[in-house]
C-alpha cells in the first residue's frame, strides 16, 4: 500500500497520475465524492473501477451492491477479496480523496484489502489526513510506503524549475525566495501566485510579490481581476458540478448566463491557462476543478450571487435525469434541498429500471431520501412496497401499508390508488393470506386503472389468479391468465409472466402435472432471452417439481441452474433450491454430497443478514438427521416454539421449518407430544385447505399416519396412509412416500395388499423398504426408533460406553434400553438379540 497523506494542494493526485503513466499494469482510479460514503454506492464505483481497468468483465464486481442487500458485510468483503485474488494482471487501485470516507464498513473493507496483500492488487490511498487504519502495524511490517507533506512540498530549486517551464513569468532570485518562504512549499499557492503574475504587467494588480499571502480567496480574486468577468462567472457555475463536460457546461450557461461562451471554448481556455482542472475519466470527457479551488469558487459565488445556486443545482439535476443518470440527478436534487424533485426523479425512472428487474438500484435511490420525507410521499411509499415484495421484507411491508392507510389516498390519482390496492392484494395473498379480501382489493385495482405492462398489469393478473385459486376458483384463475396470453407477443416478458402465474396456481393447487406442462412452455420461452429473473424462477420451479416426482437428475440439474441466479430472484426461493439439492442427495443416500450442500447452506445462512435463514438451514439439517435415523437428536429444536403456525410460511416451499418440526415430533416425541402434533397437523391442514393449498397435503397425511401408528392407533394410521398413497399415486408424487419409507419403514407393513398402489409396486419402493437390510426392527418386534438405533450400533460392534458417547446419553440409559429390548425380543443377551434380529 502506498499512502499519500498531505493537505489539499500539495499535488498528490497529480503525482500519482504521472507516476502510474510510467508504470505497466492496469489502473483503477476511484475518485471519491460525498455520496460514496454510502456503502452500496461505494461498492458500485469500486466494482466499476475494477472492471473498467481489467481486460475481462467480472459479474462478481457488477453484482456487489445488489448482494449487499442480503449478505452480511463480512461476506461481501470475502467476495471482494476472492475476486481480487483472481485478478490476472497487476492492478493498482487508487482511492483518491479517501478522507471523505467516514463509514466504518468501507474502512474495514479497505483495511482488509491492504492486510491481505493480494498479489496483483496494489492499493494507493490519497487523503488529506491519515485514514483510521492500524498504521503502526503496517509500518512495522513494512506493508506501507508513506508520502507525506514533507516529501511533497516544493523546495526553492523545484520552484525555479517550475518557473523555467513558463517564459511569461520572470521573477528575481529574491522574489523566488519570498514566494517559497511565504507559501512554505505549498504547490497550489505557488502556482496561483505564478498565475497571477503571468498576466501582462500593466494590468496586473499585484504590484509586488510581498503583498501576497496564502489566502486562497485573496489569490483567486487577484486572478479573477485578470480574467474576463464572464469567463470567471462561468468558472464559478461549473464549480457547482462535482464534474462537468462540454454538454453540461453549455446547458448550465444557456440556462443561467446569457452571452456566455460555448463549453468547448471555455474548457479549451481553462486547459490553456492551466486553471486547476483535472480530467476525471480516461476518455477525457469529464473534468473537475481542484477541490480547494472549486470550493473557493463556490464560496465566492455564494458571496456575489447566493440566490442562483439552488436553481442551478435543480437544473443540473434535471440535466442528469434527462441523460438517465438517475443517481446524479437525485444527488443534485438533494443538494438543491429539493426532495420533491428527488422523489419525482425516482418515480420517473422507476418503470425503466424495474423493467430490467433491477429493483436493487431502486432501493439504492430510495435509501438516499430521508425516512420522514419518504413517509409523506405516497408515490415513494408505493415504490418501496415493490422493493419489499422482491426482498420479502415482511416487516417493512406491513408498516408501509399502514403508513399509506394513515395518510389516506383521498387526494391521489386513480393509478396510485390502484397500485396501493395491488400491493394490499399481494400482501393478503402471500403474506397474511385472506384470499377473499385479496380478490376484492385486486379486482378493484384492475377496475380503477388499466395497465398491461409486465411489471404491473400482468403481475397483478398473476396475483389475482393466485388469490382466486386460494378461494377455490382455479378454473377462473387459469382462464383469466389464458386470456392474457392472447394479448401479447410470444417473445414478450408479459407473455412469459402470464405462464409464470399459471405455474404458481398449479403448484399451490398441488397440481404438479399441469405445473410441469406450463413450466415447459416457460423454459422454452426464456431460453436465449435476457429475462434473468424469470430464468432463475423457472429453474427453481423445475427443480421443485422434479423433486416431488423424485426425478433425481432433473431436479439436481435444475436446482444447480437456479443457483446461478444468486441475488437475481428471491432469496427465500434460492435458499429453498439449496434445500432441495441437500434433501435429494440425502434421499439418494449420497452422504458426501448431502454434507457438502448442507455446508453450503450453512455458509449462506451465516452470510445473509436476515436471521430467519439460520432457522431455514437448521430445519434442513434436522430433516437430514431425520432421514438417517438420528431425528431424536433434533427433538429439543423441534419442540421449541413448534405449535405456532404461519400459513404464509408454507406456499410451495420444499422445506418449511414449521412442518419439519412436526416431522421430528411425530417420529420421536413422547405420546403426549405426538397427540399434540396431530392436533397441530390438523390445524395446518385446515388452514391450507381453507386457502386450497395442496402443495404439502401428502406430506401432512403421511405425518398423521406416522403419528397414529406410533400411538398404536392402527386403523386411523391405515386410513391416512391410504389417503396419502392414493393422492401420491394420482400425482406421481414419489418423494413424500419415499421419505416416509426411509424414516419409518415399518409403517408400510400396515398395507396388506400393495397392488392397488402403483407407487408401491412400480417404483420399487415396496421392495426397497420392507426388506431393507440394515433396518432390523419391524413393527412386529415393537422396538422404538431409539431402540432400533441402539440395535444397529450394537450390530456394528460398538460397546455400551461407545454407544453412550455417540448418542450423548449415560451408560445407565444404554443399559436400561437394552433391558427393554431384551424383554421385547424375549432374548437373554446381546448375542441372542443379534441372532434374532438377523433372522
Amino acid at each position: 500500500m502506498i499512502l499519500l497523506s498531505a493537505p489539499a494542494g500539495y499535488g498528490k493526485s497529480v503525482l500519482v497520475s504521472q507516476w502510474i503513466k510510467e508504470k505497466e499494469g492496469a489502473n483503477a482510479w476511484l475518485s471519491l465524492n460525498d455520496s460514496m460514503n454510502d456503502t452500496a454506492v461505494f461498492l458500485i464505483y469500486l466494482g466499476e473501477a475494477l472492471n473498467t481497468c481489467s481486460s475481462r468483465k467480472r459479474e462478481v464486481f457488477i453484482n456487489l451492491h445488489k448482494q449487499y442487500t442480503f449478505l452480511s458485510w463480512e461476506a461481501i468483503i470475502e467476495i471482494i477479496v476472492n475476486a481480487a485474488t483472481e485478478l490476472e494482471e497487476k492492478t493498482r487501485l487508487i482511492i483518491d480523496d479517501y478522507y471523505l470516507i467516514s463509514n466504518p464498513e468501507i474502512h474495514q473493507l479497505v483495511e482488509v484489502l491492504i492486510r491481505e496483500e493480494i498479489r496483483n492488487l496494489q492499493i494507493i490511498i490519497i487523503s488529506r489526513w491519515d485514514p483510521p487504519f492500524q498504521l503502526r502495524e503496517l509500518r512495522l511490517y513494512q506493508k506501507m510506503q508513506e508520502i507525506r507533506m514533507a516529501d511533497l512540498k516544493f523546495e526553492k530549486e523545484e520552484a525555479i524549475e517550475l518557473l523555467a517551464l513558463d517564459d511569461s513569468i520572470s521573477l528575481t532570485n529574491d522574489e523566488i525566495n519570498t514566494v517559497v518562504k511565504r507559501t512554505e512549499g505549498w504547490i497550489l499557492a505557488i502556482r496561483m501566485i505564478l498565475l497571477a503574475r503571468s498576466f501582462p504587467v500593466e494590468d496586473n494588480k499585484i504590484k509586488g510579490i510581498e503583498n501576497i499571502s496564502n489566502n486562497l480567496d485573496q489569490l483567486l480574486s487577484y486572478i479573477s481581476l485578470n480574467l474576463e468577468p464572464k469567463f470567471f462567472r462561468q468558472m464559478q457555475l461549473c464549480a457547482l458540478c462535482d464534474q462537468f463536460n462540454v454538454e453540461l457546461i453549455d446547458s448550465i450557461c444557456d440556462f443561467a448566463y446569457e452571452g456566455s461562451c460555448k463549453g468547448e471554448v471555455l474548457l479549451a481556455k481553462l486547459k490553456e491557462l492551466n486553471l486547476f482542472i483535472l480530467a476525471t475519466d480516461s476518455d477525457g470527457g469529464w473534468y473537475r476543478f481542484h477541490h480547494l479551488v472549486g470550493e473557493t469558487l463556490i464560496r465566492n459565488l455564494k458571496k456575489t450571487d447566493p440566490d442562483i445556486i439552488i436553481s442551478i443545482y435543480t437544473h443540473i439535476s434535471e440535466w442528469f435525469s434527462d441523460k438517465n443518470f438517475v443517481d446524479e440527478a437525485i444527488n443534485y436534487a438533494i443538494k438543491a434541498e429539493n426532495y420533491e424533485l428527488a422523489c419525482s426523479q425516482i418515480i420517473k425512472h422507476r418503470a425503466s429500471i424495474l423493467d430490467k428487474d433491477q429493483w436493487w438500484v431502486l432501493k439504492r435511490w430510495l435509501d438516499k431520501i430521508p425516512r420522514q420525507i419518504r413517509n409523506a410521499n405516497i408515490d415513494i411509499l408505493l415504490t418501496e412496497l415493490l422493493v419489499c415484495e422482491e426482498t420479502w421484507n415482511i416487516e417493512d411491508f406491513s408498516s408501509i401499508l399502514n403508513r399509506i392507510e394513515s395518510i389516506g389516498l383521498e387526494n391521489s390519482n386513480a393509478e396510485n390508488i390502484s397500485r396501493y390496492l395491488f400491493h394490499l392484494g399481494y400482501f393478503l395473498t402471500f403474506v397474511e393470506p385472506n384470499p377473499k379480501k385479496a380478490v376484492e382489493a385486486l379486482e378493484q385495482s384492475i377496475a380503477l386503472f388499466h395497465d398491461e405492462s409486465a411489471l404491473f398489469g400482468v403481475r397483478r393478473e398473476s396475483v389475482v389468479a393466485c388469490s382466486r385459486q386460494m378461494l377455490g376458483l382455479t378454473a377462473l384463475a387459469l382462464k383469466s391468465l389464458e386470456d392474457i396470453h392472447e394479448k401479447f407477443e410470444r417473445s414478450s416478458k408479459s407473455y412469459v409472466r402470464s405462464f409464470d402465474g399459471k405455474v404458481l396456481v398449479h403448484l399451490l393447487s398441488g397440481n404438479f402435472e399441469s405445473a410441469n406442462n406450463d413450466l415447459k412452455k416457460i423454459l422454452f420461452l426464456v431460453q436465449d432471452s435476457d429475462f434473468l429473473y424469470l430464468k432463475g424462477w423457472s429453474s427453481y420451479y423445475q427443480g421443485n417439481i422434479a423433486f416431488q416426482f423424485f426425478q433425481k437428475d432433473r431436479a439436481m440439474n435444475a436446482f444447480k441452474k437456479a443457483l446461478e441466479y444468486e441475488g437475481i430472484f428471491n432469496y427465500r426461493a434460492y435458499f429453498d433450491a439449496l434445500a432441495g439439492l441437500t434433501l435429494i442427495s440425502s434421499l439418494k443416500k449420497d452422504e458426501k454430497t448431502t454434507a457438502s450442500f448442507l455446508e453450503q447452506m450453512g455458509q449462506l445462512a451465516i452470510k445473509l443478514k436476515d436471521r430467519k435463514f439460520k432457522n431455514y438451514y437448521r430445519s434442513v439439517q434436522a430433516r437430514i438427521n431425520w432421514h438417517t435415523g438420528q431425528g431424536d437428536k433434533e427433538l429439543s429444536w423441534a419442540t421449541a416454539d413448534w405449535v405456532k403456525q404461519h400459513p404464509s410460511s408454507y406456499l410451495f416451499l420444499i422445506d418449511v421449518p414449521e412442518l419439519t418440526k412436526l416431522r421430528i415430533v411425530v417420529s420421536h416425541g413422547t405420546h403426549a407430544q405426538i397427540e399434540e402434533a396431530i392436533t397441530v397437523l390438523e390445524e395446518v391442514e385446515a388452514i391450507l385447505k381453507s386457502v386450497h393449498n395442496g402443495y404439502q397435503l401428502i406430506d401432512i397425511a403421511l405425518l398423521k399416519a406416522m403419528g397414529f401408528f406410533r400411538l398404536q392407533r392402527k386403523k386411523r394410521a391405515v386410513k391416512w396412509l391410504e389417503e396419502a398413497l392414493i393422492q401420491a399415486d394420482k400425482n406421481e408424487m414419489i418423494r413424500p412416500v419415499l421419505e416416509a419409507t426411509l424414516v419409518m419403514p415399518s409403517l408400510f407393513n400396515l398395507i396388506e395388499d400393495p397392488s392397488p398402489y402403483r407407487i408401491l409396486t412400480h417404483t420399487g419402493l415396496d421392495l426397497a423398504t420392507r426388506k431393507t437390510p440394515g433396518s432390523p426392527a419391524s413393527a412386529s418386534n415393537g422396538l422404538t426408533l431409539r431402540e432400533q438405533e441402539l440395535v444397529r450400533l450394537i450390530a456394528k460392534g460398538l460397546r455400551n460406553k461407545e454407544i453412550a458417547d455417540l448418542l450423548n446419553i449415560s451408560t445407565g440409559t444404554v443399559k436400561s434400553h437394552l433391558t427393554n429390548i431384551y424383554s421385547k425380543l424375549q432374548v437373554p443377551n446381546r448375542i441372542s438379540m443379534l441372532r434374532k434380529i438377523e433372522d
Partner: protein, 83 residues
Amino acid sequence: MLTSSALAGAIYQIRVTGELNTTLLNAVDDMQLRQENGQNSIALVGWLPDQSALLGLLYRLNEIRYEILSVEIFAPNESTLMT
C-alpha cells in the same frame, strides 16, 4: 508560518474526556494512553509524523465521540518527559 513540527513530526499530547476502552485503544494506533489521576480524562501521548497524521487521529477520536480537551506539541528535546 509552518513550524518544524508540521513537517518533520513531533511528540503530541492530546487530552480527551472519558474512560479507557478497546474502541479507544483500536482508534489511537501507536499513541500511549494514560488515565489521568482522579479525573474523567485520558492523555494520549506519542510521536506523529505531521499534522495530516494528527488530523487523522483527531477525526477518529471525534468519530468515536471522545471530546477533545487540548492538543499540545512537545518539542523533541522534551520527549524525555514522556517516559
